[in-house]
């Protein structure tokens, strides 16, 4: 697929995802701690602006949903590897515990199945220091346009490394 090693491609994509992030992903201050074709693990530092209460101790559910959606995007991009465009079809989230914390937030996501047109993701949110307790669980479905050279918004593939 490429003339660079696969693990180098994955590392390069994860680095580009990090350095070229803007908008919400930049604002969440997400750091990719683990980025592989098998799954990703992202860390968000606690941010009082994302709280649902005046005391700033409870993260709003929408933040956890945003974290899951962000993690699904990277996980599925890495797992599929030849994406021109991808769009979230649907997103389902169960809030299992109150998001009461001032710790870092950890989100893990992976692509558990893919077809030519569709990728299925599953993921979970935990707090740093209590990673045995899942705070939120999510699943998502993404519509894919496959192509060797990215043209759409995920045009992160290195041009020099692409051979058909």
């Amino acid at each position: 697929m490429t003339d660079i090693k696969d693990d180098e491609w994955v590392a390069r994509m994860a680095e580009l995802w990090q350095t070229r992030s803007k908008g919400l992903i930049y604002g969440l201050n997400l750091k990719a701690e683990l980025a592989t074709r098998q799954g990703v693990r992202l860390r968000m530092p606690f941010n009082p602006n994302f709280c649902a209460d005046e005391d700033e101790t409870l993260l709003h559910g929408g933040v956890l949903t945003s974290l899951l959606d962000s993690a699904f995007g990277l996980a599925i991009f890495l797992a599929v590897g030849e994406i021109q465009t991808m769009a979230t079809l649907d997103l389902r989230v169960d809030y299992l515990l109150p998001a009461k914390t001032r710790s870092d937030v950890i989100v893990e996501a992976r692509c558990h199945h893919q077809t030519r047109h569709i990728a299925f993701g599953t993921g979970q949110v935990m707090f740093d220091g209590a990673e045995n307790e899942v705070v939120a669980h999510g699943t998502a479905t993404f519509a894919l346009t496959r192509g060797d050279q990215g043209k759409g918004h995920w045009s992160l593939r290195p041009k020099d490394g692409t051979k058909t």
Binding site: R20, S21, K22, G23, L24, I25, Y26, G27, P48, N49, F50, C51, A52, D53, E54, E56, L59, H60, G61, G62, V63, T65, S66, L67, L68, D69, S70, G73, A87, T88, L89, D90, L91, R92, V93, D94, Y95, P98, G152, H153, W154, S155
Partner: protein, 133 residues
């Protein structure tokens, strides 16, 4: 709760200030909101589209405000959600409407829709459940 009471809540909640939406209407069967576009809402590096999580957040916020009887003592607790993304949400104002499907003493179910220029062309629809106790 009245439109002014709901707006006062929105002004106090950090994440609602981050989203920066305002209450348009507040009726017993639901609430509508409107949110100006901001760079911090962008979802991907190349296109200036909303992040899917921001769309879901506006829907959840609008849904929760529509089922609250007394936010100060008992804010609705979100249980789960499903969001269908139907069109890209492009740079521009995003509107949301929540309609209460069923509200009991303990539980509420709320249907939501988000749109931009044309309410007949929704960018997303969402279903939310809340615990009210």
């Amino acid at each position: 709760m009245t439109k002014d009471e709901l707006q006062a809540i929105c002004n106090k909640i950090p994440y609602f200030r981050f989203l920066d939406f305002t209450i348009e209407t507040a009726d017993p069967d639901g609430v509508t909101t409107t949110m100006p576009f901001a760079d911090r809402h962008i979802g991907n590096p190349e296109a200036e589209n909303y992040h899917g999580g921001i769309v879901a957040s506006l829907l959840e916020a609008t849904a929760s405000l529509s089922v609250s009887d007394d936010w100060e003592t008992q804010p609705p607790k979100p249980i789960n959600l499903t969001v269908d993304y139907m069109r890209p949400a492009r740079s521009g104002t995003l509107n949301a409407k929540a309609t209460i499907s069923r509200k009991g003493r303990r539980m509420a179910s709320v249907a939501t829709v988000a749109w931009q220029d044309n309410e007949d062309k929704p960018v997303a629809k969402g279903l939310f459940h809340f615990l009210l106790v």
